[in-house]
Symmetry: C2
């Protein structure tokens, strides 16, 4: 396909596509003469991944570049690429979580028999969040956290089960997109659920 069709199918404007080509985030198309090139379905998929990382995950281009470098390294196994890409999704925390919160997260990882890295960035982000909640006077018990982890896990299993990737790029792209893309919807639904609950519980005129 020509550049115009690539723009239409990916939803990314032509000037933006040209910028990604210059920055090396998007591979060159197949040259058709001096100034034109054709693109294929891999370009569409790559553009969708870049936009999801930028628009949804809020990545700056240097972090997008890091993710793409992991995906494009043929010496990295699919297993390793998935782990590394997942670690990049969560930013490094600025403040080291307490050992107590780290231990709580590790206990929950064991309780739900998770293959996630208990020392990885996601786990560190959860531990830091527990510290914030304690400081705000609303600590979470290990039981409460485990209940959350089980509920979230069932949803994740249902989501991932819908995906039947045909190759490595598609597997990693789906794994990352699936994580970040649905987050705003889930947070919004949870806020609506809280709105519903608080209206029901506290709706006496006062």
């Amino acid at each position: 396909m020509w550049m115009a069709e690539l723009a239409e199918r990916s939803g990314v404007a032509v000037p933006t596509i040209k910028f990604y080509l210059r920055e090396g985030l998007l591979p060159r198309g197949e040259a058709r003469g001096a100034t034109r090139a054709t693109y294929d379905v891999e370009h569409v998929r790559r553009l969708r991944l870049i936009r999801a990382l930028v628009d949804v995950a809020g990545f700056r281009l240097d972090r997008v570049r890091e993710v793409l470098a992991v995906l494009d390294d043929p010496s990295v196994s699919l297993h390793e690429a998935l782990g590394a890409a997942h670690q990049l999704l969560s930013p490094a925390v600025t403040e080291e979580p307490t050992q107590e919160s780290r231990d709580a997260v590790a206990e929950v990882v064991r309780a739900v028999d998770s293959a996630a890295d208990p020392d990885g960035r996601h786990a560190t982000a959860v531990a830091a969040a527990l510290d914030t909640m304690s400081r705000a006077g609303q600590p979470v018990s290990i039981e409460g956290l485990t209940r959350y982890a089980r509920a979230v896990r069932e949803l994740a299993a249902a989501e991932v089960g819908l995906v039947a990737p045909e190759n490595r790029d598609e597997a990693v792209t789906y794994a990352l997109l699936g994580s970040v893309l649905a987050e705003p919807a889930i947070l919004g639904l949870r806020r609506m659920a809280h709105e519903d609950q608080s209206i029901r519980r506290f709706s006496d005129p006062s």
Copy 2:
């Protein structure tokens, strides 16, 4: 209590407390001579709310001020204050969602019998998120969204049920804190669940 104890109990540094006093976000204490004042448990609660809104929800001070103005207006009923404060939690969307996504969210609100405002900011944020997912090539069905809404709702009911507020301020503070404070932990747990799932499903060497 004196300012030093207020700082210790709230976890907010003295210079920051003085800044909030100057900005009118925190009510003055009871004067004890020309330069000293004492504070009570309401000051501790107010400081925790401000820090949660700033640190966790990422609010700028002008939005904090809007939330506090709603809480402090005695002419606003508890029901209305909860609704208004919830609307302020979600920023106004910059791009109007499609009617199709708005209809999908309204259908889910009916399906789960929610009291949340189907035209409110949370609902608008969910509709906008659905548009983003469609554009990225991963549309969500109404069935999928309903499944999410049900799961999230069960968790929200369990969370809100833990709270037994004694007065209006406490009810609204808990309702808001409960929504925003746990979000980083929940997103982190969900990312860990996806990490777990993708490692399990795609872990063949390739």
